[in-house]
Subunit: 350 residues, 2 copies
């Protein structure tokens, strides 16, 4: 590996001072047009590589932002990411990404690293179990930080999220409208704001309709994956075969649940209705299609990016919280309730 070419080398090669070279490369008007092109030519020839560490040390600025995502395995985050990235590209920033694999240590070390390395700001979809205090400790007041997708409750960071509770209420309302009375819930634990809020929305809506959801119809999963959804659904089918409507925390879980129903010979959208959350692209590429709460990923991504850009400009502005309304997308996985459950009808008639 040859020694790296520096401004000094270029200065020697061109016969001007180091400062002149530096200015020439950055098109400073103090250097004559002729010399600028000459110097640039030689720089290219000698394979000069700008040393951003040195420059940034001197200038004290950067133009990169960092995004840390709790887990890229869920395609919904890729969709968020795309919106965020395009917004940042528009403003000329380079985006550095980290996949935290739902591991607080990876997340913390990435955040710390970005601080040390000098990133203009951080966009975070926090991993499960992120401690607001701990994170505050790391970023102090020094580092513009915005959360998206998941909230960090009890913190004064900026946020851009979906109305999670509201989305689930839409789902339940629709299923009730279709005549369903026996609900099941497949979802995560209580460690993320999304898990809490979506479950809360589910419960609230059921209560509003005067419907119960006994514990044996609630299945908590450790991770958000198709496989977890499949196992949860299988458990519910065994334990509570009378369930006709299943609300899932996410599409990934719902897709697993659908698989379990296939395996059990239950016809989706007829004998059992399933609804997910996120509206992954995949949801419309299966048969029957998966009904889902469509999160405004574009809008949330753009909002998150803009919140960060604003925060970078004004670190002392009050914390902002953008909550964006989702909407329901209906496909074949939901249909009218077929079972004439007397108990259910009673509730309905009342």
């Amino acid at each position: 590996m040859a020694e790296r070419v520096t401004l000094k080398n270029l200065a020697e090669a061109t016969g001007v001072s180091v400062s002149a070279v530096s200015m020439a490369l950055r098109d400073h008007p103090r250097i004559s047009e002729a010399k600028r092109t000459e110097i640039k030519r030689i720089a290219a020839e000698m394979g000069y590589i700008y040393n951003r560490q040195a420059a940034s040390l001197r200038r004290g600025t950067t133009d990169s932002v960092s995004i840390c995502i709790n887990d890229l395995h869920n395609p919904v985050f890729i969709e968020f990411l795309t919106a965020i990235e395009s917004e940042f590209r528009r403003s000329g920033k380079l985006v550095l990404l980290c996949n935290a694999h739902e591991d607080p240590e990876i997340q913390a070390s990435f955040v710390r690293r970005m601080l040390e390395q000098g990133s203009a700001g951080l966009l975070l979809s926090p991993v499960e179990g992120t401690e607001p205090a701990e994170l505050r400790e790391i970023v102090r007041d020094r580092f513009p930080t915005v959360f998206f997708s998941r909230m960090l409750e009890g913190s004064d960071f900026d946020h851009a999220i979906s109305d999670d509770a509201g989305g689930m209420q839409l789902a339940v309302d629709e299923l009730v409208r279709l005549g369903h009375r026996q609900f099941a819930w497949i979802g995560g634990g209580q460690r993320t704001s999304t898990a809490r809020a979506r479950y809360r929305g589910f419960k609230t809506a059921l209560e509003r309709h005067g419907l119960p959801c006994p514990p044996e119809q609630v299945e908590r999963v450790a991770e958000t994956s198709r496989e977890a959804g499949r196992q949860a659904m299988a458990a519910i089918l065994k334990r509570a075969p009378h369930v006709t409507a299943v609300v899932c925390f996410s599409d990934l879980l719902a897709l697993g649940a659908i698989m379990a129903c296939h395996e059990a010979g239950r016809r989706i959208g007829k004998e059992i209705s399933i609804i997910g959350h996120d509206d992954l692209e995949e949801a419309s590429y299966i048969e029957p299609g998966l009904s889902s709460v469509k999160v405004a990923k574009e809008e949330i991504g753009r909002a998150a990016a803009r919140l960060l850009l604003d925060r970078i400009i004004d670190p002392d502005a009050p914390a902002a919280r953008e909550v964006i309304a989702p909407r329901l997308v209906l496909r074949g996985s939901t249909g009218p309730c077929l079972s004439a459950d007397a108990d259910g009808l009673n509730h309905f008639a009342r």
Copy 2:
């Protein structure tokens, strides 16, 4: 935003020299145990943040590596990524990621940036249309670079890839064994090594069996997405309804193709067999399951990471090329050929 705390500030606060502080924080034995803990305590108290730019400028080393992925929308890359990341984490490196959105400019600017910023090395799944010469121009001999997933033909970089041609031959062989004679191909253009190699494998295998694949049964798509696969399949169904076996460049395309068959009322795995490539997790979570060429993502990812680590250690070693064999995973989307196509049988009998 408060001024950043520096070693100098810590030195003043603790009453020792800057060098002593620097050494203390890095646990240099020259500083006494007592002073080390004292200094660390004060550093934490004052919210000291290590300035990696300065440090790295002085030391001339880094411990981060960069990965640039052509397009994260295809889940197969997430699966590659996971393997790569875990391998790097094992060796204590931080992984910075870039999603190139299949755009050569984004890729080039990321690569350049990583060079400027000082990354230990680069792992690249190159975007379509990457020019070996141009890339060589950017990285020169200075930057350890390894390609994975896609090759860059005509270059002397290290590579870790799947045997793309071989994989497609497995697929064709299986379909021929099931009695199929009328094949269609859904795949990308000629701009990536994977597109070329997989199509070559497909053609080679057909020729070996003495089977044709006329142009109207070959559908080129501009991008690798479900939607592109759906449209391609719809076109084939219209143009060449006698086709009974469809080989797709990727699972994403195959999933779209399956959707198109559903829409056209063609029963998958009965009237028409479809086979994909990659073996996404999703392939086993639809009904019927998608038969696919299973790429050894774990193995390739680990190989790529190790190639890069080796390359960082020895920049002058000869270029290595690891080609890892895929295997076939059969699910419900492939089945025996039902149509008694005389022409096909003739070919078979010969």
